[in-house]
Every structure is written in structure tokens, then in C-alpha cells.
Point group: C2
């Protein structure tokens, strides 16, 4: 059972507000972003460049998150938090996973300083030198990177060109006696695909058959834009749940990248102990800020309506951006089912991804991410990645500039 008493104590500190404040699709302060938004974003590009690069939103955080931080800070007690995270935070995360039909337990949740750190600790917990880790191609660089950091050899399974589907038999033929884990990213970055229930079932069956651990990155799981519902692989059966480590964070859905807050949920006590040990949390070399935990807890408990408004806006942006990119000569752009990432295939333009990204930067003054093999795997080459988590005004301006150069 979660420690509901402690959770309530945390929650009580947030000012009672019967009407959570809604998402505002017009509220982006470019000047503030130019001072504060780093990691390939506003603060790191020339003043006239629009960055559609790193995937965190331009919008400020939900008011309830600000209030929770202010309330927790007000009394000034900011000493050591518990090793594994506040019980309120862990209970909130367990509730969120429970809503996805994962049989989650607060005692098997570890607060982490971001989803990337969570992935790193999960890989260190499971993988060691000589192991093989199955990764898809293309996929966000962090999954193979963290596999390698843990000492494993990365074996890449190419996704279907165009659709991002997992080809029949493609995983099976890459499993050897040394395969230890399979790393999922669902919804998938950069293709924007939401994995199908039957695909997940096939992966799950393979994991059971070959005794593999599933390391499942769900950092995009709240950004579902299409009709297809999100399925968490750990919800398929207790047997799958037991061998799954779920990692996620609060950067994509709530704009908390700067607070560095995520979590690791282990499907078994044994995996949780391995994760805890690998993380260094018991010896304080790893941990999440108490204010960041409070912010994330408020996000889970009090920001449903804000998130719904954000998703509604993202759907409108998707509807605007996809046909305009798809209409560009040599571009093929499909609508992402999840994430706020566009991943157009630009091979028919005659340019490679690096050259085209540079041209867009220099001529359109729009920064995009080139689908470089060294970042996303060879399957990303010939693609660009663009984030659309911004206002209609900024996105329209960026698309207009791109159309002027390439249209």
C-alpha cells in the first residue's frame, strides 16, 4: 500500500483550487526563452532563428506546478529527502501507472533526476560487459547510448521504412544466447508511432521465451494525438510486468526538463533492488531534487485539464504542419500518432539530412534536427526531426519560412 498519509501531507500543501487553470495556447514568451531555453533551443541559436529542435515545449508550466513549488519552498525546509523519493511522489506515480493497467507499487518506484538518468540506471542494473541489448533503428540515441554505457553491445533491429512497424521475424533473428534486454521507446521517438498491442505481445512473448528484461521508455506516453490508445507493455500480463522496467519523466508532457525529474518502476522486487543498487541513490551519488518531485507530483495529481488542453493544441498544430511539410517537393511526412515530433523523409529532395538542415538554418532561419546515423541510427538518415510544441504563430512562421526556401 502507498503511504497515503504522507502523500496527503504533500498534497495538502498545494493551495486548494477547485478549477485547475487551463492550458493557454498563446502563452509563449520568446524573450524569456531566449534567456532560459538551452539544449539546442532559443538560448543557443541566433536571435532570428526559430528552433524546432530539442523536444521540450515552449510553453510555461501549469500554474498548479508553480504553486506546488512555491508552497513547498515557503517554509524553507529543503534538507535530504528520502533515498527512493517522497512517498507522495511515488504514490502519485504508482497511481498514474495504475491508470495504464500496470500493477504498479510505490515501493518499486525510484525517483530519478530525469528520464535520461532513469534509463542510464535501468541499463546499469540489467546489463553488463558481454551482454547484447536489442535496440531499434531509428531510435532516440539515449537508448543505445545507455546500453553501451552499461557495457553491452548494441544490436539494432531496423524498423519498416515509412511506417516504423517492427518487421515480422526481425527481432527473433537477432536474439542470441547473450541477448539480455530489449529496449523499447513507446510512443517511438523519432517516428511518432504508437506501438500496436499485437506488436507488444510479440515482443513480450519473445522476452518470456528468451528470458529477456524489457527496458521500456515511456517518456512520450502522455502525448497521444491519434485515435490509437496507448498500451503499456507491462499491462499485458503479470508475467510480462515482472520482467519490465518502465522509465519515464516529466519533460515532454509538463515542460519540467530543467527540473530533471523522472522515475524508474521495476516489475519485481529483485529488479527494483538491482536498479536501486546500480543507481547509487542509497549512497547519495544519485537522486532527484525534492522540489522537482513536488512539481512532478502536482503535475500528475492536478494537471489533467491543463494536459488535455495542451494535447488539443498539439493536435491542431499537427493538422496544420503535416500537410504543409508533406506538400514540399521531395518531402514525405506522415502524422505522428504520439509525440510532438515530425519526421519527414527528405530523400527525394536530393539533399542529405545534414545539408538540408544547414540550408534551413542558413536560408530559412529555422533550426531542425538532422536524422544523423550517429544520433538516431542509420535508419534515420534522409530524415529531419522537427518539434511542434509551440504556438500557432511561431509554427506558422517557421513553416512559412521553410516553404519560401524549399517550396
Amino acid at each position: 500500500m502507498p503511504d497515503v498519509r504522507a502523500a496527503n501531507l504533500e498534497i495538502r500543501s498545494v493551495p486548494a483550487d477547485p478549477r485547475p487553470v487551463a492550458f493557454d495556447p498563446f502563452h509563449v514568451e520568446r524573450e524569456l526563452l531566449r534567456r532560459r531555453a538551452f539544449n539546442l533551443r532559443w538560448a543557443t541559436v541566433d536571435a532570428d532563428v526559430i528552433p524546432l529542435t530539442a523536444a521540450d515545449p515552449d510553453f510555461p508550466v501549469a500554474p498548479r506546478i508553480r504553486e506546488a513549488i512555491a508552497a513547498h519552498t515557503a517554509d524553507g525546509v529543503l534538507g535530504y529527502g528520502p533515498t527512493e523519493g517522497f512517498s507522495g511522489f511515488r504514490a502519485a506515480v504508482a497511481g498514474m501507472l495504475g491508470a495504464r493497467n500496470i500493477s504498479a507499487h510505490p515501493d518499486r518506484i525510484l525517483a530519478s533526476d530525469g528520464a535520461a538518468s532513469a534509463l542510464w540506471a535501468a541499463c546499469r542494473a540489467v546489463l553488463e560487459t558481454g551482454d547484447e541489448a536489442l535496440n531499434f533503428d531509428p531510435v532516440d540515441f539515449l537508448l543505445p547510448h545507455c546500453s553501451q554505457q552499461a557495457g553491452a553491445t548494441v544490436v539494432r533491429c531496423p524498423l519498416e521504412d515509412g511506417t516504423g512497424e517492427i518487421p515480422e521475424g526481425a527481432l527473433e533473428e537477432r536474439i542470441t544466447g547473450r541477448t539480455k534486454a530489449i529496449l523499447l521507446c513507446n510512443p517511438h521517438n523519432p517516428t511518432g508511432r504508437v506501438l500496436r498491442r499485437d506488436e507488444l505481445r510479440r515482443i513480450a512473448d519473445l522476452a518470456c521465451e528468451h528470458d529477456l528484461v524489457i527496458i521500456n521508455d515511456e517518456v512520450w506516453s502522455e502525448i497521444i494525438l491519434g485515435e490509437l490508445a496507448f498500451t503499456s507493455i507491462a499491462s499485458l500480463s503479470p508475467e510480462i510486468a515482472e520482467r519490465t522496467i518502465t522509465v519515464s519523466g516529466f519533460s515532454k508532457s509538463y515542460g519540467l526538463a530543467g527540473l530533471r525529474i523522472g522515475f524508474i518502476h521495476s516489475g519485481s522486487e529483485r529488479l527494483h533492488r538491482q536498479v536501486l543498487e546500480a543507481s547509487g541513490a542509497p549512497r547519495t551519488t544519485f537522486g532527484a531534487s525534492v522540489l522537482s518531485q513536488v512539481a512532478a507530483e502536482a503535475a500528475i495529481l492536478h494537471c489533467d485539464r491543463w494536459l488535455a488542453g495542451f494535447l488539443e493544441h498539439l493536435r491542431a498544430m499537427r493538422a496544420m504542419a503535416v500537410p504543409r511539410l508533406d506538400a514540399l517537393p521531395g518531402f514525405a511526412c506522415s502524422a505522428p500518432e504520439g509525440t510532438y515530433l515530425l519526421f519527414p523523409d527528405i530523400r527525394a529532395t536530393g539533399f542529405d539530412e545534414q545539408t538540408l538542415a544547414q540550408r534551413l538554418h542558413d536560408e530559412a532561419r529555422v533550426a531542425v534536427v538532422p536524422g544523423l546515423g550517429r544520433w538516431f541510427g542509420p535508419g534515420a538518415e534522409g530524415h529531419l526531426r522537427l518539434s511542434f510544441a509551440t504556438t500557432e504563430e511561431i509554427l506558422d512562421e517557421a513553416l512559412g519560412r521553410i516553404e519560401k526556401v524549399l517550396g
Copy 2:
């Protein structure tokens, strides 16, 4: 040069207050600590036990720190910060180190999620399997632990029994062809000794002679209680500075342990690049919360007077506690020159440290840290460690209970 423009932007957000609010030696809220203070502290002991265990203060943070957090949160932009930390934070740290006569540069400073993480990254940057790392005995477990985590073999140099001095020739005879680094903790945890200039000079000469890196933990450097001024080893000469990595944090002096904020300053560009690479910061698997950086920056820039008041209070607590512990049968307790840690030798009581700590817990209802060999090294055995960063009322109550049981 530090990016002064960016630093000013950060600073400007703190409300102007010509009279920084002073430290209040009476302001400790036990009920709040019972909910919030973890890691062997109030929230983790029975309600009637006074914890003098983990070394972070019972006092709330300085008002200017709360204000800085509130100001930065107010506009809601909490996205990705810069990889190496805000330029304002790095400039403030460089200024703080400069005041210690270290030729510090913001560009060689990396913000870290706590001093323990900083130590971990510094060790990973310098040490690898097969290397030997010189550590003292006794010393806080984190220094040998991080050495080992990086793959090195720990070679312990015993400190003088009673005084905590480094015996003549003791380091020299432990240096081999495989010695790669020497780890300092200054002021020293748990002995409370402030290292002498001539001791530091001897260490520095050895480091130069044998081409060793000095990994220097200064997390206690602002808690100087005696007449002896603090000397930072990197201030001795440019040659020493170049081979020194200085790590520190804001838990001990400003009560920010829960925010997980520290830094790593490297004495050369080469060491900084190694630290950056080893940390994982460029790939987002490591990093410090933006709010924590803002809090620490406010601590450095605006809390001088608060810190002076805190130190004044600590000196009074030291004056009260040392003679009372020293007067207990079988106890020998000297006054720490730095830190707020007491480290009485209890061998003449006839009890070992574990048994006596247990008795104090069960009979006096006071929690202290036993000087276990596995935590602090064999040289800590037969000692207890007590923190006195609390109110006079609480400390007096704890000492009274101890006297009743052991006096």
C-alpha cells in the same frame, strides 16, 4: 571571462533587499522536520528520538534562497538548462573560489546534482581499473566509495590517532607506480580538522613529483569554527591548481541537501573535458535542476550575513557540547576546527562504537553515527560522530539525555 551579462540577468530576478535577513538560531520546526528530514534524520527515527546523525542542518534555508526560487518559478519557464550549468551559477561559483585565492574560471565549472555526484564524476574522470587512489583513514565513506566505483584500488593512509594529523612520510610510502590520485577532504570529515598549510604543501609537492591528480572535497569549507583560516590546496600555486579538481556543494552551509546541488571545478581545460565526458552531462544522463542552481547562486551572492550568523551559533554550540562530551566517563572529545561534527573517542568506555550508539538510541533516545570501519575506515572505530547543527534547546536536551545514561 564569466558571462557577466547572463549572470546579471539571473541575479536581477531576486527581489532587491538592502538588508539580507539574518540567521535565526531558534527557528527549527520539529513537526515539519518529522515529515521532511530523511537520510537518518527526523523523519526516519521514532518520534521521541533526537537525531544528531546525518550532517545537514535542522534550520530552514535563508529567506533570500526561498525568494530566488520563487522568483525563478514565477514565470513558469523550467525547460532544459545549459549542459554545464547556468552562466550565472558558474560565475558565482568562480567568484566564491576566487575569494579563496583559487584561479577559478566559470568555463571549467560544471554544475552537478550534489557534492556526492560531483565526487563520483571527478573520480570517473580521473581513475580507471588498475589505478590506485590514496585515501585517508578515517574519512567520509564517499571518497573511497567513489574511488572504487571508478575502478580504482583504495590505498588508505592512517591519520594520527587523536589529532587527525597526516603523519610524516605516511603518504610517501604508499605511493607506487600505479598511484593516480589523492583524495582530500578539507575540512576533514569526521575529525573536524582544518588541514594546515604545510600539510597541504607536502601533499602538493608529492602530487607534482609523482604526477598525481588531487581530488579535493571542500564541502565543509564554509564551516570554519576555530582561529585557523581555511586554505584551499588549489590556491598554493598555479602548478598545483592545474592538477586539482575541487568539488563542493551547498548542503552543509546552506541546508540545500534536498535540492541536490554541487559543482566541480577543474584546474585545467584537459581535466574539465575529462570531467564533462565522464559525467554524462552532454548526453543529459546527469545534471542539476535549474531551480537548485538558482538557489545556490542566491546562497553565494546574498547570504553572507546569514552564514555569519549560522557560524556564530555553531561556535556557541561547539562551546557547549565539547566539554560536556569530554567530561563523560571514558569519552575524549576535542573541538572541531571546521565542520559541525563531534567525533569523540569512546574506547575508554569499554564499549565498541556500535554497542554504545545502540545504547544511546535505546536508553537516551538520541541517534548518533557509530564510527564503523566499513563506513569511515578502521581508524574511526571506537568513535561516535554527532552533528550539532541544531538549536541550543534541542542540543542541550540531547546532551542531557546522554549524560543521564552515561554520566
